[in-house]
C-alpha cells in the first residue's frame, strides 16, 4: 500500500489543483513509480475530478508516459539519427520479436521492459541500446539474443523479491 501513499504525497502537493495540473502530476507520479498504474490513474482522477479514460487519453498523447511497471531490466532503444542510419529499426524489430512485447510494455515474467528513446547521446556507439543504464554498442539483430541471454542468466541466478 505504500504505492498509494506515494501517490497521495504527490497529490498533496497539488491540493486544489485544476485540470492544468494533470501533466505535472502524471510526471511526478511516474518519477516516483516508474510508470502510471491503474491505481494511480484512478487516484489522480478522483483528485482532479477527471475520468480515467480522459487521463489515459491525455497521457497517451505524449510519448513520455508508461503504463506498465518497468521490468527488472529496462531496455531503451535509441532512435536518434545516427542509430537510425546504422539500422536501429532492425534492432528494435529483433527485440520486440525476441521479447514478445511492444515498446512501452513489459514481458509477462517481469524481467524485461522495452522503451524507445530519443538520442541518448552515445552516437559513437550506434546503434546503441541501454539496459538499466548500461550501454551496448554496435547492436545487430544477431547480437540481441546474446545480450538478452546474459541478462536472463543473471535474472535466474538471483532470487527475486517480488
Amino acid at each position: 500500500m505504500t504505492a498509494i501513499a506515494d501517490i497521495q504525497t504527490v497529490l498533496h502537493k497539488h491540493t486544489n489543483a485544476g485540470r492544468d495540473a494533470l501533466i505535472p502530476i502524471l510526471q511526478e507520479v511516474q518519477e516516483v513509480h516508474g510508470y502510471l498504474s491503474k491505481e494511480a490513474v484512478v487516484q489522480i482522477g478522483r483528485h482532479l475530478k477527471l475520468p480515467a479514460s480522459k487521463i489515459y487519453g491525455v497521457a497517451t498523447f505524449y510519448n513520455q508516459f508508461r503504463f506498465n511497471a518497468p521490468g527488472k531490466y529496462h531496455i531503451q532503444v535509441c532512435r536518434g539519427t545516427a542509430c537510425h542510419v546504422k539500422g536501429s529499426a532492425n534492432v528494435l524489430d529483433a527485440l520486440t520479436r525476441e521479447l514478445g512485447v511492444a515498446p512501452g510494455e513489459t514481458t509477462r515474467d517481469g524481467v524485461f521492459s522495452l522503451e524507445i528513446v530519443a538520442c541518448i547521446g552515445a552516437c559513437g556507439l550506434a546503434p546503441v541500446i541501454s539496459v538499466n543504464g548500461e550501454f551496448h554498442a554496435g547492436m545487430t539483430p544477431e547480437k540481441i539474443k546474446t545480450v538478452l541471454d546474459a541478462y536472463r542468466k543473471e535474472a535466474e541466478g538471483e532470487p527475486t523479491d517480488d
Binding site: 491503474k38 490513474v41 475520468p51 480515467a52 479514460s53 480522459k54 487519453g57 497517451t60 498523447f61
Partner: protein, 572 residues
C-alpha cells in the same frame, strides 16, 4: 435578420449557428461531428461553407450567423474541400461494406456516394485494430471508426460516464477505454447511446440473433418471447413508418410467424413490478426504511450506482426489472402450469436496450442454474430477424398475445417513457394506501421530455416529493444534490436513456428528439384510450397473485421477483 444563401434571401435568428439557419431553410449541408443539442466541436470540418469576406472556409456548425452574411454552401471550392475530407476518411477504412451491419445505413457510405467518390485516391497504411467483443452489450470495431467523436461526447456529456475517449496522437489516434481494456471491465454501463450516434459500423450491439434462430429451429426447445412496452411503438420505423406508429398486434403475429411458441408482454410484468414496488415504497415510508427509494428497472442506471454511488445502493428498490420478473415467473409458475421442464424453455426478450443483455447475464439473475432470461434482442435485431425471414408486415393481421402473461394495463405500457414508472406507481400507491383510485389518473408533472422533473404529491394525507430523471448525466447531478442534502425526496425514477426506453440504445438508430416525442405521444394516447389504466387493475396480475404469488413482498415474491446489488470496482 436576413442573410444570403446561394443567392437567395434567408431569415436567420440572432445568436444561432449558421448550420441551424441553413437546416431551417432546407439547405442540406453534410455534417459528421455535429450533434444537435450539444455544444459544437467544429472538429471534422465536413460542414464547411464559403462566407464572403472570410479568407478560409468556415465550419457552419460552429460559426454564428451575422447580418447580411453572404454564404455559398456548394461552390466548387466547398465541394472540393468536403470531397477531400471524405476521401481521406476511408484511407484507413476496410472495404467491408458487403459484410457490415451498417451497409445501406451508413453515413460514410452516404457521404461518399453523395460527393460522387468512385475511386480510392489515398491508400493510407491500414493498421488493423483488434475488435472488442468483450462486452455483453456492445461490440467495438475500431477499424471502421472515423474518429468523429460523437460516441465520446454522448458518453461524457449525456450519460456522465466517459468510458471512452480519444487516445494516442496523429495517425495513431483511436477511441479507447482507460488502459485500452475491454469494455466489459471498463466503466461502460452498456446503455448503447454511443451506438445510436455512431455514423458507421464501428459500434454495434452484441448480437444474440443466431442463438435465437438456433433455438427456434430446435424442436426440443419451447421458445417464449416477451416484448418491452416501447418496442411496439418503434419497430415500424425500421420498416419506413413514421415515428409514433404502434404495431403491437402485427408484431405479435410476426413473432408467431418467426416460430415463437408463446408471445408475452413485458408490460404485464411492468404491472407486476408496480405492485411490488409501490408496496415496497409504502413499506419504507411506514417503517422508516431507506429513502428516497430509487427505481431499479433500468440496468445501465443500476451499474452506474454500483460503480459511482455505492452509498446509494440501499436506496435502490430491490425489485427486479420487468424483464427479469417475467423471466422468473415463466420458468417457475408457467413451466409448472404447462408441465414443461424449465430446462427446455428458451426465454427471449425483445428490448429497446443494449444494457438488458448485460442484465440478463448478471449472476443474481440465475436460479437453480437457469438464467431467468436466455437471450435479449434489441428492436433493431428483431427487425433484422423479420427481414431475414421475409415477413411482410404490411400483409399481417394483428393478433392477441398469449395467456397467462399477455394482458397488461396501460400503466404498464407507460413504462416505455420517462415518467411512466412514476405515474404507474403513483396510481397504485394511492390505491394501496387509501383503497381508492386517484381522481386524476394522469400525473402531468412527471410527463414530457425534461431531463429532471419534480413534483409534490399528496397520498393519504402524506406529502411525497418525487423526481423523475432521464439521461445519467442528469441522474449524476440529482444524486450529488441528494448526497449533499439539498433535496427532500421520497421516490426517484431514473431511466438511463434520454426520453426513457423510447430513446433506448437498442432502438432504431439516431437520437432525433422529435421522433422520441412522437413515440411518447403514442404511449400517452394508448393510456388515454385504455380500458384498464392501473397496474393493480390488471386481472392477469390479480390472478397470478391469487394462484401463485400470494401477496406483494411475500415469500414467493422475494424468491422470484426481488434481487440485490453490490459495489463494483471498475476503472472509473
Amino acid at each position: 435578420m436576413n442573410i444570403t444563401v446561394n443567392g437567395n434571401t434567408v431569415e436567420a435568428r440572432e445568436g444561432e449557428m449558421l448550420l441551424t439557419t441553413l437546416q431551417r431553410a432546407g439547405v442540406r449541408v453534410p455534417t459528421l461531428c455535429h450533434m444537435p443539442d450539444l455544444f459544437p466541436s467544429g472538429a471534422c470540418r465536413m460542414c464547411v461553407v464559403e462566407v464572403e469576406g472570410m479568407r478560409g472556409l468556415v465550419p457552419s456548425c460552429a460559426h454564428p450567423v451575422s447580418e447580411n452574411m453572404n454564404v455559398k454552401t456548394h461552390s466548387p471550392r466547398v465541394v472540393r474541400a468536403r470531397k477531400t475530407i471524405v476521401e481521406l476518411l476511408p484511407a484507413d477504412h476496410p472495404d467491408d461494406c458487403l459484410y457490415c451491419v451498417r451497409n445501406g445505413n451508413c453515413e460514410l457510405q452516404k457521404l461518399a456516394n453523395e460527393l460522387g467518390i468512385r475511386e480510392r485516391r489515398y491508400a493510407g497504411k491500414r493498421t488493423p485494430d483488434k475488435m472488442d467483443t468483450s462486452s455483453p452489450s456492445i461490440v467495438r470495431d475500431p477499424d471502421k471508426c472515423i474518429l468523429c467523436g460523437r460516441c465520446v461526447r454522448v458518453c461524457e456529456e449525456v450519460q456522465g460516464v466517459s468510458a471512452i475517449d480519444f487516445a494516442g496522437r496523429g495517425s495513431n489516434t483511436v477511441i479507447s477505454t482507460a488502459f485500452d481494456q475491454g469494455l466489459n471491465v471498463s466503466s461502460c454501463i452498456n446503455c448503447g447511446q454511443c451506438v445510436m450516434v455512431c455514423p458507421t459500423g464501428a459500434l454495434r450491439e452484441q448480437s444474440d440473433t443466431k442463438r435465437v434462430v438456433d433455438a427456434l429451429n430446435d424442436p426440443e426447445k419451447y421458445v417464449v418471447v416477451q416484448h418491452a412496452p416501447s418496442v411496439s411503438v418503434t419497430l415500424a420505423e425500421e420498416f419506413g413508418a413514421k415515428p409514433g406508429s404502434d404495431i403491437c398486434g402485427i408484431m405479435t403475429t410476426a413473432l408467431r410467424q418467426l416460430g415463437f411458441d408463446r408471445v408475452f408482454d413485458t408490460a404485464f410484468s411492468a404491472d407486476l413490478t408496480i405492485l411490488e414496488e409501490a408496496s415496497e415504497l409504502a413499506h419504507r415510508i411506514q417503517n422508516g426504511g431507506k429513502l428516497p427509494m430509487m427505481t431499479s428497472c433500468s440496468p445501465g442506471w443500476i451499474k452506474f450506482v454500483e460503480q459511482y454511488f455505492p452509498e446509494f445502493i440501499g436506496n435502490l428498490s430491490t425489485c427486479k426489472s420487468p424483464q427479469q420478473m417475467l423471466g422468473a415467473v415463466i420458468k417457475s409458475f408457467f413451466a409448472d402450469r404447462e408441465n414443461i421442464d424449465p430446462k427446455n424453455i428458451v426465454s427471449v426478450a425483445i428490448m429497446p436496450c443494449t444494457a438488458k443483455k448485460f442484465e440478463a447475464q448478471r449472476p443474481e439473475m440465475v436460479r437453480n442454474g437457469l438464467p431467468d432470461v436466455d437471450a435479449v434482442l434489441t428492436t433493431r435485431e428483431l427487425a433484422r430477424l423479420i427481414r431475414l425471414r421475409g415477413i411482410d408486415l404490411d400483409t399481417l393481421e394483428p393478433e392477441m398475445q398469449d395467456t397467462p402473461f399477455g394482458e397488461r394495463s396501460t400503466a404498464g405500457k407507460l413504462f416505455g417513457a420517462t415518467g411512466g414508472v412514476m405515474e404507474a406507481a403513483m396510481r397504485t400507491a394511492n390505491y394501496l394506501l387509501t383503497g381508492e383510485e386517484l381522481k386524476q389518473l394522469n400525473v402531468r408533472a412527471v410527463r414530457g421530455l425534461d431531463g429532471i422533473k419534480e413534483a409534490r404529491v399528496t397520498i393519504n394525507g402524506v406529502e411525497l416529493g418525487v423526481a423523475v430523471v432521464n439521461g445519467l448525466g442528469n441522474a449524476r447531478r440529482l444524486l450529488e444534490e441528494v448526497r449533499d442534502g439539498y433535496r427532500d425526496l421520497h421516490f426517484i425514477e431514473v431511466m438511463t436513456c434520454p426520453g426513457g426506453c423510447i430513446g433506448g440504445g437498442g432502438q432504431p438508430l439516431g437520437t432525433d428528439p422529435e421522433a422520441v416525442k412522437a413515440r411518447m405521444q403514442t404511449l400517452y394516447k394508448i393510456d388515454r384510450d385504455g380500458d384498464v389504466r392501473t397496474s393493480h387493475g390488471n386481472p392477469a396480475v390479480q390472478r397470478l397473485y391469487k394462484e401463485f404469488l400470494g401477496n406483494p413482498l411475500g415469500g414467493k415474491s422475494h424468491e422470484l421477483l426481488h434481487t440485490h446489488y453490490a459495489k463494483r470496482e471498475t476503472l472509473t
